[in-house]
C-alpha cells in the first residue's frame, strides 16, 4: 500500500512541475540541430533556422529540449545553445561545469571501497565545505570480514591547505561509533559496541565535470572499555561528485 502511494506521488511530480512559463531564445547559428534524444548518439532529424525563436522546455545534463514557434521539438547540445540571443538581445551563458564550480562547491557525495584491518570495507560519505580550508564529513562504513562484520558511523573534520589545486591533500580528524557483530556461524562470540577516534590523511583529485577521485588512509582507535583500546587501519579509494 505504501509503495503504491509512493508510486502515485512519483508520477504526480512531473505533472505538477509542468505548469510553468518557458525561457525563450533566438537562434543565431545558421541552423540549430534538433536531436531525438539528449545525447550525441541520437540522430538530428530536424533543424531550426537562424532568427527563429525557441522555448527551452528542460535540461538533461548538457542537453536542452526546445520547442520552436512552429512546434518543432528536439534536443540541442549546450554548445549550440550558447549561440543564441535572449529576449533582452544578449548572448545567453549556458555554463559548463568547470573548475570554478569545483572550487565553489559546498555539498559533495560519494562512495569508496577499501580495506579495514585486512577486511573489505565500503563507505558512503557526504561532506560539506564550510570554507576554503575546512570540510565537515559524515561517513558510514560497512566492514565485511571473514569472521565478523562491523558498522562505523563517524563525523570528521578535514583541513585542506591546498584546496585551490586540482590535487588537494587533506588531514582528517574524527570521532564516531563502532559496532561489530560476529558471523552467525561462530560460537560463543559477543557483539562489540564502542566509541572511536580517527586520524588520517587523504587526497582529492578533481577529475572532470562533477567527478572527484579520492583516496584515504585512516587510523581508528576503538575504545572498547576502560582497560582496552584496539587500533585499526583503513585505506580506501572512491568516487565523489559535487552539486
Amino acid at each position: 500500500m505504501k509503495l503504491m502511494r509512493l508510486a502515485c506521488l512519483l508520477l504526480l511530480i512531473p505533472l505538477v512541475m509542468g505548469a510553468t512559463a518557458y525561457q525563450r531564445v533566438q537562434v543565431q547559428d545558421p541552423y540549430m540541430d534538433l536531436h531525438t534524444g539528449p545525447g550525441r548518439g541520437f540522430p538530428a532529424v530536424q533543424v531550426i533556422e537562424r532568427g527563429e525563436w525557441v522555448e527551452i522546455l528542460k535540461r538533461k545534463t548538457d542537453w536542452f529540449k526546445v520547442r520552436s514557434d512552429q512546434g518543432k521539438e528536439g534536443w540541442v547540445r549546450r554548445s549550440q545553445m550558447e549561440k543564441t540571443l535572449t529576449e533582452a538581445g544578449v548572448e545567453k551563458n549556458f555554463r559548463d561545469v568547470l573548475m570554478d564550480d569545483y572550487l565553489n562547491r559546498r555539498l559533495e557525495m560519494g562512495f569508496a571501497a577499501g580495506r579495514f584491518d585486512g577486511d573489505s570495507s565500503l563507505t558512503v560519505r557526504t561532506s560539506y565545505r564550510f570554507n576554503d580550508y575546512i570540510v565537515g564529513e559524515l561517513n558510514l562504513t560497512q566492514v565485511s570480514g571473514d569472521f565478523s562484520s562491523s558498522r562505523i558511523v563517524d563525523l570528521n573534520l578535514q583541513i585542506a591547505p591546498y584546496s585551490d589545486n586540482r590535487f588537494s591533500p587533506y588531514f582528517n580528524l574524527g570521532f564516531g561509533h563502532f559496532k561489530n557483530e560476529p558471523k552467525a556461524t561462530l560460537v560463543n562470540a559477543v557483539d562489540t559496541s564502542a566509541t572511536t577516534a580517527t586520524v588520517g590523511v587523504g587526497l582529492r583529485i578533481y577529475l572532470t565535470r562533477r567527478f572527484i577521485v579520492r583516496a584515504d588512509y585512516k587510523d581508528y582507535v576503538v575504545m572498547i572499555d576502560a582497560d582496552r583500546n584496539e587500533e585499526f587501519q583503513q585505506w580506501m579509494a572512491g568516487f565523489s561528485f559535487f552539486f
Partner: protein, 226 residues
C-alpha cells in the same frame, strides 16, 4: 573670550528656536492638516501621463532533470539458496550524457529447502530475509530508439553498470560486487522503463569452504526524472 562664548551660545539657541517648529515632533498636527488638503489639488507639472509598457524581465528557470528515482521488481537467484522475488528502490544522478551514479536498496528472501530435504538445515528458519544495497557507476552506450507500432517512437539506451555493495542474510554481511547491463526506454522525457540483468558476486563460507558466489538477478522497473 567669555563674551565670544556667550555670543556663540546665544546664536545657537536662536537658530534652534527658529528651526524647532519645523521638527516633525513639534509639528505633527500641521502635517496631518496638509495631508488632508493634498488630494484636492492636482500634481503640478504632470501634463502627459507616461504610458510605458514594461517588459517582463524575470527569466523563467530551466527545469533540469538529472535525478532519477524509481522502483524495481525481479528475480534474484542466490547461489545454493534458491531463486526468489526481489523488490528494490533506486536513485540515480546523471553526471553527463555518458555516466550516471546510482544507489540501490533491495529486499529478497533465501531458502535452505534443498539442505533441509536431506536433513542438513543451515538457516534457523527455512526462509530468511535478505537485504542488499549497492552504489554503482553506470555508462550509457548504444543510444537509439525503440519503435512500437507505426506511430510511437521512444528514445532508448543500453547501459553497463558496475557496483560495490553489501548483501546481508542470517546476520552475515558480504561485500558484493555487481556487474550488469540493461536497457532503458523513455516513453516520456521524465519516465523511464528499465530491464536489467546483473551478477552479484560475493565471497561466502556458509557451506564450509570459502568460495565466490555468483548470484544472478533479473529485474524490471520504472523511474521518474526530476
Amino acid at each position: 573670550m567669555l563674551n565670544q562664548g556667550i555670543c556663540k551660545l546665544l546664536t545657537l539657541v536662536l537658530v534652534a528656536g527658529f528651526f524647532a517648529p519645523g521638527c516633525s515632533v513639534l509639528s505633527s498636527r500641521d502635517k496631518q492638516d496638509e495631508k488632508q488638503e493634498l488630494p484636492m489639488e492636482e500634481a503640478p507639472g504632470q501634463v502627459i501621463a507616461p504610458d510605458v509598457e514594461r517588459r517582463d524581465i524575470s527569466v523563467p528557470k530551466i527545469d533540469t532533470e538529472n535525478w532519477e528515482i524509481g522502483l524495481y521488481v525481479g528475480v534474484l537467484s542466490v547461489d545454493d539458496f534458491g531463486s526468489r522475488a526481489i523488490y528494490g528502490v533506486r536513485a540515480a544522478y546523471h553526471v553527463s550524457e555518458d555516466f550516471f551514479l546510482e544507489g540501490a536498496y533491495a529486499r529478497s528472501t533465501v531458502e535452505d529447502t534443498n539442505f533441509r530435504d536431506i536433513g542438513l538445515p543451515i538457516f534457523p528458519n527455512e526462509e530468511e530475509d535478505l537485504d542488499f544495497y549497492s552504489f554503482s557507476l553506470g555508462y550509457n552506450f548504444l543510444p537509439g530508439e525503440v519503435f512500437v507500432g507505426t506511430k510511437w517512437a521512444m528514445t532508448s539506451s543500453m547501459y553497463f553498470i558496475f557496483g560495490v555493495g553489501n548483501t546481508e542474510f542470517i546476520g552475515e554481511d558480504d561485500l558484493t560486487y555487481s556487474l550488469g547491463f540493461g536497457l532503458r526506454v523513455l516513453p516520456r522525457d521524465y519516465l523511464t522503463f528499465r530491464i536489467e540483468a546483473k551478477d552479484n558476486i560475493f565471497e561466502s563460507d556458509l557451506l564450509g569452504t570459502n568460495d565466490y558466489k555468483h548470484n544472478l538477478e533479473f529485474n524490471i522497473g520504472f523511474s521518474v526524472f526530476f
